[in-house]
Amino acid sequence: MNERKPVKQYDYTVLVILFAAIVFAIRGVTQAAWALVWVWAAAMALIALSLGVVASLSLNKKGASAFLRFGAQGVDGRLILALWALLTALASIHLALQGHPVLVLVAVSLMVVVLPGTGTLIVDEYVQSLIARGAALAGGVGLAAAMLLAALRLPGLDVALGALSFYVGTLEVYVWRSLKS
């Protein structure tokens, strides 16, 4: 009998993020550290949302982190995502009013997620597969942006805003382009 042993896969993302967050926190860049954790949380929430409904994604549930499995076991991903979007949008508006006007764009694009009608589209299995793929890409871009901006020794707040803008922008452009094609 040709039985194939299941290949164990582990999600090391959380370790990398935590390490980077601790390094930033030690160096006094607390906001950048929080930005990393926030971007990671968004990516995980989106993937958990997709895992909860879509069975045909090419993600290995066994290898997924505890957070993902928790999401897959029936936590309403839409609620997590809407809460994340709402909190981030409110924080963006607050920061925009404090002299970072570019954050209005992030706030507006995030509000799209909680608009009526978007909820129906967001639970659609094809759209979810796009979101899951886009979230992985956006998470990477957001992290890379955060690390690059931190390496340039920009203030912590700018690092946080930059990472968030890149994350949201990448995700929305990816999903929009895929739906248009």
């Binding site: 069975a55 045909s56 589209l121 659609d124 299995e125 094809y126 759209v127």
Partner: protein
């Protein structure tokens, strides 16, 4: 995965939007399946089969099945 969805849909005279409504998915999902960009989940595949009154394997065919049939 190859599928006969465009042919079956045309036979019924349904638009992508009409089929999407029957399946409870977005038009984009139907479009992506027809163009082979997305393989539906098993529950959706069953639903598609049910809508057309066929078996799943009458609608969807793995890519390599055709190659094996042609080779053999």
């Amino acid at each position: 995965m190859k599928n006969k969805l465009p042919v079956l849909r045309a036979e019924k005279g349904w638009s992508q939007a009409a089929l999407a409504e029957r399946l409870g998915v977005s038009r984009q999902t139907v479009n992506a399946i027809e163009k082979g960009r997305y393989d539906p989940s098993l529950p959706l595949a069953f639903k598609i089969a049910q809508v057309f009154g066929l078996a799943i394997e009458d609608i969807f065919t793995p890519e390599d099945t055709d190659e094996r049939t042609q080779a053999g």
